[in-house]
């Protein structure tokens, strides 16, 4: 998500003085941080980049953020690998994680506090969570109150503005955000299906066209990305709002679709039928691993939930086929007994 990752800031030895300021607040002594050049304050600017802790709704606890003097706020994304450390100049930095910054909309962070405090009554921002220094700094100094009208009803009396959390508005706004993420995912051609796919594997155009994941996969992925900044229950609401079916259900449907595709491919022969077969067994394997079905027998037979539509497409066993054959020439029983 971050625009670029120019390697700019390094611990103390680095000419950028900000490095040391950061280090003093962080838990480990030294950290390696990738961030965009333009974020670094111009030489003797008055502002400093600050590392601060705010409540992160997606994590359910406080997390580190970086705030820019101009009001921007950036989340820390951490890439941790076991057994890695850095060599900075001649020092060993045992914390081998890589941190990157990515801009965050402070409204998302404020949303949690609004939901917590302003669900019932409208409040002004400086009255919310007065005892929590970080929260009130977030709400009063970083947040642009203009943006709050996307998630709250605003009532003003004189100079004072009061905000009250509005769920419909919030969901509509989050849906909009999700759609934006969808657009970006599509633009970047991020693969969003259930199966993993190699990005650098060159596939023929025809296959690529066939394997495009559907709209819902993109929406699900985007919704999950947005949901990382939301409370779990709000994420659930958003999923409902966007009518995203659960992934397991989607796999079941995909399996049904794959079966259909297979039978279609059988008709127009061709080399790619082999690929599609693979695809099919793939889905079956996934179904198995999802714990939905027993390991023996055909996978669809034992799905007993009423939602499982593919039940009907189950192929007949030899016994059933024999019975069906035996039924030839016999009248239907329904012609003798009428429906009650």
């Amino acid at each position: 998500m971050s625009k670029k990752a120019t390697r700019a800031s390094k611990p103390k030895a680095d000419p950028d003085a900000e490095g040391s300021a950061k280090m003093s607040k962080a838990s480990a002594l030294k950290k390696v941080l990738f961030m965009s050049q333009e974020l670094l304050p111009k030489d003797a600017d008055d502002g400093h980049l600050r590392l601060e802790r705010f409540f992160h709704p997606g994590h359910g606890k406080e997390a580190l953020f970086m705030t820019h003097p101009d009001g921007r706020i950036m989340e820390f994304v951490e890439y941790a690998e076991p057994r890695r450390s850095w060599l900075v100049n001649s020092e060993v930095c045992s914390n081998g994680r890589i941190y990157m910054t990515t801009p965050v909309d402070p409204t998302l962070l404020a949303l949690y506090h609004l939901r917590k405090h302003c669900a019932q009554k409208a409040m002004s921002l400086d009255n919310i969570a007065v005892e929590e220094a970080s929260t009130s700094r977030l709400l009063n100094e970083i947040l642009d109150p203009e943006n709050l009208k996307c998630v709250a009803d605003v009532k003003s009396s004189g100079e004072q503005k009061f905000y009250r959390y509005n769920q419909e508005r919030t969901l509509a706004w989050l849906a909009l955000k999700t759609r934006q993420v969808v657009r970006i995912l599509k633009e970047k051609q991020v693969h969003c299906g259930h199966s993993a796919q190699s990005q650098n594997f060159v596939r023929s155009e025809k296959l690529a066209a066939e394997n495009v994941s559907n709209e819902m996969d993109y929406t699900r992925m985007a919704c999950d990305i947005v949901g990382r900044y939301l409370d779990a229950d709000l994420h659930g609401l958003l999923i409902n709002y966007l009518h995203i079916p659960s992934e397991i259900q989607a796999i079941v449907e995909e399996k049904a679709a794959a079966q259909k595709r297979k039978s279609m491919a059988g008709k127009d022969e061709g080399s790619d039928s082999k690929k599609i077969k693979l695809n099919d067994s793939d889905a079956a394997a996934k179904l198995k691993s999802s714990g939905l079905v027993d390991s023996d027998g055909d996978p669809n037979a034992s799905i007993t939930s009423p939602t499982a539509a593919p039940l009907k497409e189950r192929s007949l066993t030899a016994k059933e086929k024999a019975l069906a054959k035996g039924a030839k020439g016999t009248k239907s029983i329904a012609s003798f007994f009428k429906v009650k």
Binding site: G297, A301, S302, T304, S305, P306, L316, K319, E320, A322, L323, A324, K325, G326, A327, K328, G329, T330, K331, S332, I333, A334, S335, F336, F337, K338, V339, K340
Partner: protein, 260 residues
């Protein structure tokens, strides 16, 4: 709340074995009079009707009428986990989407319970009219199973011809023809070995052999089987389940001139 307890799991096992070949899934309709099941096979040629009376159970409680759609394959799998002598209890809450099946060993030392998901099956119930059958044949269930098995080797269809003299099962195919005649037993020493024919008028009907063979899966449930026939009306094959109820199979006759 629904709860039904049977002294021996083996009966339930046999019932499941008797219907699971014909039906993949079926609805158990529970009421305070007992458990009913009615379903057609996939080809809609035969109908299975199972009645288990509440007084046949060791314990039976059904506060509200309840329909439990079950996958019979799954149910049979669960029943395989029971020992024959185990007590078996079926339990479900009102409006539940699962049923619990519990097995207890005779000395209560082992208790196992299994929960199975129920299904929503939209099955329509067929009304079965009262019929005065032209012929009603009672014969040993084993004998009937043997006849069906033997004749299946010759043809897809079996002709059952019932006259005053007795009942004749015949089949003809590429191999040749087969005829099995059973006469009414003169003296009835043992009731379960008797062949009894009650006839109003002679009747000849043709049926699909495979289905008759599927019906004979119920043989372990009963020593005797009753075949009721009437021209242009489905055959009824009834196995009584001692003290508990009965299982009836209805099979539509084959249309004549279709098979040689």
């Amino acid at each position: 709340m629904f709860e039904a307890r049977l002294g021996q799991a083996t009966i339930l096992k046999k019932i499941l074995d008797a219907i699971k070949d014909l039906l993949n899934e079926a609805t158990f309709d529970c009421s305070d009079s007992g458990i009913q099941l009615q379903a057609m096979d996939n080809s809609h040629v035969s109908l299975v009707s199972l009645t288990l009376r509440s007084d046949g159970f060791d314990k039976f409680r059904c506060d509200r009428n309840l329909s439990m759609g079950m996958n019979l394959g799954s149910m049979a799998k669960i029943l395989k986990c029971a020992n024959n002598e185990d007590n078996v209890t079926m339990k479900a809450q009102d409006n539940a989407d699962t049923v619990t099946i519990m097995f207890e060993s005779a000395n209560q030392e082992k208790v196992s319970d299994y929960e199975m998901k129920l299904m929503n099956l939209d099955q329509e119930h067929l009304g079965i009219p009262e019929t005065d059958f032209s012929c009603v044949v009672r014969m040993p269930a084993m004998e009937f199973a043997r006849i069906c098995r033997d004749l299946a080797q010759f043809s897809e269809s079996v002709v059952i011809c019932c006259t005053k003299e007795g009942v004749k099962f015949s089949a003809s195919g590429d191999v040749g023809t087969a005829n099995i005649k059973l006469a009414q037993t003169g003296s009835v020493d043992k009731e379960e070995e008797a062949v009894i024919i009650e006839m109003q008028e002679p009747v000849t009907l043709t049926f699909a052999c495979r289905y008759l063979n599927a019906f004979t899966k119920a043989t372990p449930l009963s020593t005797q089987v009753q075949l009721s026939m009437c021209a242009d009306v489905p055959l009824v094959v009834e196995y009584a389940i001692k003290d508990l109820g009965h299982i009836r199979y209805y099979l539509a006759p084959k249309i004549e001139d279709n098979e040689t």
